[in-house]
């Protein structure tokens, strides 16, 4: 009898890898990543290497710092890039209507999930493998214990599995890549920092709960009564006798970082031998459980949410809120009173602006008002809370809140402004619009009306925090006029700087995103590109300086300090924490920043306006509009009624 050879067939994984190998951008991104990564590690190691010219042998034994910096960078890369890599894994199939075809093959849902999951993991592994030469170099220098080495690799792999599983879950649940993309980052953030924030704020008695567990665990170590009766006593006795027990007992608040691997790397990497490894493995259990839960849910949603109709979740949410409010309104007191009756209005002279401001969820006044209320009330509440609890001139809570709101602003503007043109393209309505007599500038001006409204709504919480901080600085200066950092009490420059930044950045971001939306064909790619561009723009100036510093370790960083403002995030950060000492002036950075980003705003606006027809792909309208009735009459019979 002929024996069948055992074969493992992974067709989906093969397809994913073949596609990846065939894409030119795979190699471009990999090269860029390698350059950035090596640049970062080089920069971080620079201080250690630069001071050792006189005694090169002194570098021996200093591999630990290089190794640690490499591991932390790899963690950062995983948290930053892996959600973007994995979030499209199922949604792409949904968007191309090919998931149904996959589901009717012999591939089971679990196989589909696992093969897709593996495909993206392999992609990330290829990125992480770029760190191997550094790893070898650091290890050869000495100072890296085997436990540290294994711990680092184990936690990196585990984090990769965890983030990828979350991405696959979001991809399986959501219909579009954009919503999966946003959800992966939001849930990722909540997964990592949510417990720590809840702990700090003691939300739902979370701190009390964790502290109770911690005290119980600590109590086992120090007070375990070997004479205790029952199973608890036996467990306590057993744990107490474990050699690693003293090492793994959590310190206060540590359990809130239970899903954040870099924390445990920091905690256990310097330990030695079995104890460190065992502790890491024990604290990895929640992460392993989270991976299993994510994958199980991804499997659960794969078929159930495979054929979702197109939905605007935000609009649907608002509509359901509308129906709730109208139900509440039907009572004895108000009796369904309507203060402002909504009329069905038709477009008059600006049809595109009409659609943007009355048919889009992020452009309609009623809905924008709700967004504003949703943001403003927590902001006001948090400002009051922070004011009552902070004794400092610079309030860390308010600073964090402002940065958070900035992040939200960028996200919302990226989604809405890039979709202006790319959305029309994706819904195949652009060509029809372009054959109307509306000029390109007209189309653009009307299109942007809705985003302008959105930016005005977002302006309010930003202004609230800025005004609060300015007021707080002013108050603080009255109470305590002397501070080690006098810039912290300068409320007026802070206010002017913040207002100018907001006033310039918001329109600049709108025009930048709109420009990207014109250039990139698909809506999803446009949104992802916009977010990618803004993140890169924020970090690129810092990365570009690395080669200079590596090539010339004695390079004076002070001489290019104003280069910091090539990143749009720099001024916001510096102004908030009032770190102007290196500049010696508070107004210089403001002027430079205003000049740079005012210029960028004008440039993006000019690019959008001047090349609108080219970017949209139609012939330029150079002449003035003239009355068509003066041209050759062609139609023999009017379509319109005789009285028209």
């Amino acid at each position: 009898m002929k024996l069948k050879r055992f074969q493992i067939s992974l067709p989906l994984l093969s397809k994913e890898l073949t596609e990846m190998a065939n894409r030119r951008r795979t190699y471009i991104i990999r090269t860029i990543y390698a350059l950035l990564f090596l640049g970062c590690v080089g920069y971080i190691s620079l201080d250690q290497i630069s001071g050792l010219q006189n005694n090169p042998l002194a570098i021996l034994g200093r591999g630990r710092q290089i190794f640690e910096s490499m591991i932390y960078l790899q963690f950062t890369a995983i948290y930053l890039f892996l959600p973007a890599i994995t979030c499209s894994v199922i949604t792409q199939e949904k968007e191309h209507n090919s998931l149904g075809l996959l589901l009717i093959t012999r591939l089971s849902p679990s196989t589909i999930i696992l093969e897709k999951y593996l495909g993206r993991l392999i992609t990330m592994v290829t990125f992480l493998m770029l760190g191997l030469p550094i790893l070898a170099f650091a290890y050869s220098l000495g100072g890296v214990s085997p436990a540290m080495f294994i711990n680092g690799l184990w936690l990196l792999v585990l984090t990769m599995f965890q983030v990828a599983a979350l991405g696959v879950l979001c991809s399986s649940f959501f219909r579009t890549t954009v919503s999966a993309f946003i959800a992966t980052y939001v849930f990722g953030f909540l997964m990592i920092f949510g417990p720590a924030i809840s702990y700090e704020m003691n939300l739902f008695y979370f701190r009390d709960f964790l502290d109770l567990i911690t005290i119980q665990l600590q109590g086992i170590n120090f007070n375990a009564n070997t004479q205790s009766i029952g199973s608890w006593g036996l467990i306590a006795n057993f744990l107490q006798n474990l050699p690693i027990w003293s090492n793994i007992v959590p310190r206060n608040g540590e359990l809130s970082f239970v899903l954040f691997s870099p924390y445990w790397f920091d905690r256990f990497s310097r330990g030695i031998g079995f104890s460190a490894l065992g502790s890491t493995v024990i604290y990895s259990i929640p992460t392993i459980l989270s991976i299993s839960v994510f994958l199980l849910f991804a499997h659960y949603f794969l078929v159930r949410r495979a054929f979702l109709p197109s939905r605007n979740y935000l609009l649907n949410l608002f509509k359901s809120l509308d129906s709730i409010f109208s139900k509440i309104n039907q009572n004895r007191v108000t009796r369904g009173i309507v203060l402002v009756k909504e009329q069905i209005q038709l477009p008059e002279n600006k049809p595109i602006a009409w659609r943007e401001t009355s048919k889009k969820s992020l452009g309609t006044v009623r809905y924008l008002f709700r967004i504003l209320i949703t943001l403003e009330i927590p902001v006001l509440f948090l400002c009051l809370f922070i004011a009552s609890s902070s004794p400092e001139a610079v309030v860390p809570g308010a600073v964090m809140l402002l940065w958070f709101i900035w992040g939200l602003v960028v996200l919302l503007l990226a989604v809405s402004a890039t979709s202006l043109i790319s959305g029309e393209r994706s819904h195949e309505t652009l060509d029809v619009l372009l054959t109307t007599p509306l000029s390109g500038k007209d189309i653009l001006a009307q299109k942007i009306a809705g985003v302008r409204r959105l930016s005005l709504a977002l302006l309010v919480p930003l202004l609230t925090i800025v005004l609060f901080e300015a007021w707080w600085k002013w108050e603080y200066a009255q109470i305590s006029p002397h501070n080690r950092n006098p810039y912290k009490l300068e409320w007026f420059p802070y206010l002017v700087g913040s207002l100018l930044t907001i006033g310039i950045y918001l329109p600049m971001l709108i025009w930048l995103f709109c420009w990207i939306g014109m250039k990139v064909k698909s809506q999803t790619k446009a949104i992802l590109s916009a977010l990618g561009v803004i993140v890169l723009w924020c970090i690129l100036p810092f990365i570009l300086i690395f080669p200079v510093l590596i090539l010339n370790p004695s390079f004076n960083e002070e001489s290019v300090i104003y280069g910091l403002f090539l990143s749009p995030a720099s001024y916001i950060v510096i102004n908030e924490i009032a770190e102007f000492q290196d500049f010696g002036t508070i107004w210089g950075p403001l002027i430079i920043n205003t000049f740079i980003y005012g210029g960028c705003y004008l440039l993006f606006r000019y690019q959008c306006h001047m090349h609108i027809d080219k970017n949209l792909g139609r012939l330029d309208s150079k002449g003035n509009f003239i009355d068509r009735t003066t041209l050759f009459p062609a139609g023999k019979q009017s379509l319109l009624s005789p009285d028209q």
Partner: protein
């Protein structure tokens, strides 16, 4: 006396996408009031040509591309006032109702506000969508969406309609409805350029056709002209009962017979129709005394024309 220019005049039009040549120097002219059928396989260059006329193609080379005597390249804004373009996809906003959709485009075409309501009602009536005026666009069937798109095209009473595959993806009933609508527009004197794969329908509608393949015109002209040209070598299938001794040679010797091919159960006789008509061939065969069981001239419909003239190439 001034003569009116043709509605569409295209000379030596080239469209390239990188190294790929989608349209290779085609020329054609369409007089006013004509319905021009643009026929060709996928990738032949039909949509590219229509896009040039619709001012949606930036990169192209030509000697002339004019609509109503106005150069498309020089005054695209004027051209947009004159044309009604319907792409090969719906191009409808699904978040609007039919009324809002039409008012949207009426405003975009700067139609007088006072006249809009009446115009919208007119076009809805013409497209038989009056009952759906307040229906959300995404609730309409494909056929209705297509008719709504046609209604949109008619809002500003354009001189030239550019319809790219208007009947693609529609069921038979919706196709017939769209065809009837186009016949009505034809009767109104509109100049229409229509590209389609449904050749039978084009034959009932078009006054002239252009068959394009691999970016080049294979033929163009009036349907009669093309039929006649192809019919010059029409094939007649004849089944003869009894002995065939010498019959083939006798037929081949007839003036006007190009060739005779013996097939399994019949003879395929290729005629030069201008020298020997099909009826005359039948009379001559009868006069020869052969017993004819079947006598069938090959049908010359649009599909046959298309298949005869094209080879399935793409540019």
């Amino acid at each position: 006396m001034s003569t009116q220019p043709p509605m569409v005049e295209v000379k030596n039009l080239w469209v390239r996408y990188g190294k790929y040549e989608a349209v290779k120097g085609i020329s054609f002219s369409i007089p006013k009031g004509e319905v021009f059928g643009f026929i060709g396989p996928n990738g032949a260059g039909k949509s590219s040509t229509i896009k040039v006329l619709a001012t949606l193609q930036r990169d192209y080379q030509c000697d002339t591309v004019k609509i109503n005597g106005i150069s498309v390249n020089k005054a695209p804004h004027l051209i947009r006032e004159m044309i009604g373009y319907m792409p090969d996809f719906f191009g409808v906003y699904e978040d609007l109702t039919a009324r809002e959709y039409l008012h949207f485009f009426a405003a975009a075409y700067r139609i007088n506000r006072k006249k809009r309501k009446a115009i919208v009602n007119d076009v809805l009536e013409l497209t038989d969508l009056t009952g759906k005026i307040d229906a959300p666009v995404d609730s309409l069937s494909r056929g209705m969406k297509q008719r709504l798109a046609l209604a949109r095209v008619l809002l500003h009473d354009p001189d030239l309609l550019l319809l790219d595959e208007p009947a693609s993806g529609l069921d038979p009933r919706a196709r017939i409805e769209v065809r009837e609508l186009l016949v009505a527009l034809k009767e109104m004197g509109k100049t229409i350029i229509i590209s389609s794969h449904i050749l039978h329908e084009l034959s009932q509608l078009c006054t002239s056709i252009g068959i394009i393949e691999a970016g080049e015109f294979v033929t163009q002209g009036s349907l009669d002209h093309i039929y006649k040209r192809l019919e010059l070598s029409r094939v007649v299938h004849v089944q003869i009962v009894g002995e065939m001794n010498g019959v083939c040679e006798k037929i081949e010797a007839m003036p006007g017979v190009k060739s005779v091919t013996v097939q399994v159960d019949r003879l395929a006789i290729q005629l030069q129709e201008d020298q020997l008509a099909v009826e005359d061939l039948h009379a001559k065969l009868a006069a020869m005394g052969v017993k004819i069981r079947m006598f069938q001239a090959e049908a010359m419909d649009m599909e046959t024309v298309f298949m005869k003239l094209t080879e399935g190439k793409t540019a």
